[in-house]
């Protein structure tokens, strides 16, 4: 099966201010990342804050320009496209943001918010059709059609996230980057949004890149999961497999730190604690970036950067499996 999205050796560096004569420095937010997302699949991305997962999502939908590497979308290289081609790509690849309070324009009615992408992409000829479509989308996301005349401030956080999902769906996208879509919401509302995203995927055959630091939610919604550390993918695997048998020491530590809503289990659980905190992405350690915190670091880890390769059913970048 051909993947809908293929990311190849993607790099996104941000230049950092340095002294006049100093060597130019870069913050390597995404460093040589490759993975694929298939049709109707949800690919989850996890990692600590600052690991580059949001930058990766944003580079894929071309909010940021990649420094190097390629992004193939439906067999076409979209990393360099411009003009009409780019517009077409933007219609197919959409994004849902974390904060539903910041991502909706408070001066526009809900109808205007949902119609805006249709206007930009000239989707429906008459304004009546656009309104009808907007009402229909509101119903799909579980709101009332007559909400189109209201303003965002009249809605709760969960309802706002529904509005932003409706806006995304207005363009019939094939691929959506969901960047922490539930972390700003209450627990009972999070489940509503997750179920809505799953329902939409089933009905419309959409692929998701689901970015979140809530590992429980990621495991629930994703078919496959990638764990990221300091700009690189350290492990990729089928989600149940990755959760049961994490291979990389980082994935292991990350998973063992999830608090499970089960007191009996928590009382007897060993946390594979990792020492220290994530190093600054300006000074990434040589070799394996995780070696400074890794309980199993060896000599070779400081010299060679491990490459992501197949071990069992998963892919892992670690010298333990050499």
């Amino acid at each position: 099966m051909e993947p809908i999205l293929k990311v190849e050796n993607l790099k996104t560096f941000f230049p950092v201010a340095t002294s006049m004569f100093g060597k130019k420095k870069y913050l390597k937010a995404v460093n040589d990342v490759s993975f694929e997302v298939f049709e109707n699949e949800t690919f989850g991305l996890v990692g600590e804050s600052g690991c580059g997962k949001s930058t990766l999502g944003r580079t894929i939908v071309k909010i940021y320009e990649p420094t190097d590497g390629k992004v193939w979308f439906e067999g076409k290289d979209v990393s360099t496209i411009k003009g009409d081609e780019l517009k077409k790509f933007r219609k197919d690849a959409q994004m849902i943001f974390q904060d539903p309070y910041a991502s909706l324009n408070s001066r526009m009615t809900v109808g205007e918010i949902i119609r805006e992408p249709m206007d930009i992409h000239d989707l429906y000829p008459t304004s009546k059709e656009k309104d009808e479509k907007a009402s229909e989308l509101l119903e799909i996301v579980g709101l009332k059609p007559d909400h189109i005349r209201r303003y965002p401030h009249e809605f709760s956080g969960g309802q706002r996230q529904r509005i932003s999902i409706a806006r995304t769906l207005a363009l019939n996208p094939k691929f959506i980057v969901c960047d922490e879509p539930i972390s700003a919401l209450d627990v009972s509302i999070q489940a509503q949004i997750i179920n809505l995203l799953e329902k939409i995927q089933e009905e419309r055959n959409i692929s998701y890149l689901f970015i979140a630091h809530d590992l429980g939610a990621v495991k629930h919604i994703s078919d496959r999961i990638g764990a990221m550390y300091l700009g690189s993918l350290v492990e990729v695997g089928e989600s149940n497999e990755l959760y049961r048998n994490p291979l990389h020491p980082y994935t292991r530590a990350l998973l063992s730190a999830i608090p499970i809503p089960d007191p009996h289990l928590m009382r007897n659980r060993e946390i594979a604690a990792i020492d220290g905190e994530i190093p600054s992405p300006l000074n990434v350690p040589s070799g394996c970036a995780f070696r400074t915190r890794c309980p199993m670091a060896m000599e070779v880890c400081a010299k060679d950067t491990p490459k992501l390769r197949k071990v069992g059913n998963s892919q892992v970048a670690c010298h333990l499996y050499d």
């Binding site: 509503q192 179920n195 608090p259």
Partner: protein, 332 residues
Amino acid sequence: MSLLEIKNLKTSFTTEQGMVQAVRNVSLSVDEGEIVGIVGESGSGKSQSMYSVMGLLSENGIIEDGSIVFDGKEICPIKFDGTQKEWEKYMESIRGNTISMIFQDPMSFLNPVLTIEKQLIEPILNHRKKLNRDQLHTMAVELLTRVGIPSPAERLKQYPHQLSGGMRQRVIIAIALACSPRLIIADEPTTALDVTIQAKILELIKDMRKNLGSGVILITHDLGVVASTCDRVYIMYGGKIVESGTADEIFYEGVHPYAKGLLACVNNPEVDDNELRPIPGSPPDLLAPPAGCPFVDRCEHAMKVCKLYWPKEKSLSDTHKVHCWLTEKGSI
């Protein structure tokens, strides 16, 4: 005698739209050496009930009724034995001393223009005056060591922006511990942190209880955090406590439809492909809260009586209490 005993606390806020009844008749208690969780969604009144205890309500908030007894002394402003001025003075003498609070956002709590050392010794200076500079410095180093910050002497000279989020939260915990408090109120202490850091902060909170014997109140919406730390749990909804019990009673024998619903809609990664059953609808408007059970509009078992009257507390065991009409009907 409990360390903290709150009875029928009622706290409201005057707003342009009217009175918001944030806390409605809340009663709870905490013993020494106990970690008690208060769980609820945003707007359920969990934080405001604790701000009432600390005497830290915003200008428009007032305690309308109720009693708060801490360490045998009534500290509720409306029942306090003395004038308003005397109450304020008394609260100042216990805040940061015998009761201290850990806030959610480590950046807005710390003063950006003061060194870590200055902020760390402030409560000690306020409450324990007879220490010289060297003693204070030694204490500060000791506190940072206790919360697991490496090279504490250097860290003391730094400013908050030079520390990572997890480090800052550790500093805040160190400040809260400075005077060895008997009660620690932690308001979402790990919500802004990564899971790896969260696990360590929770270990730290458990250690505090063990080493100091303090009582801890943990305000959170994360049931995983509750399961890994709390001895007892109160579930709040719409300004009321709907169910309380030991962690096991709440997680395995929960009765109230809201408490059960909450558990059914969180992800348990231990279960493969677990189905999430979200609670439909959204929380009630506390400007005009329903006369009966606040959960009535979202409850699948709602009856006529639920809309009209708030059910009495029913004891299912010495520790397990619930407010729900279903228990009267005998269906639970």
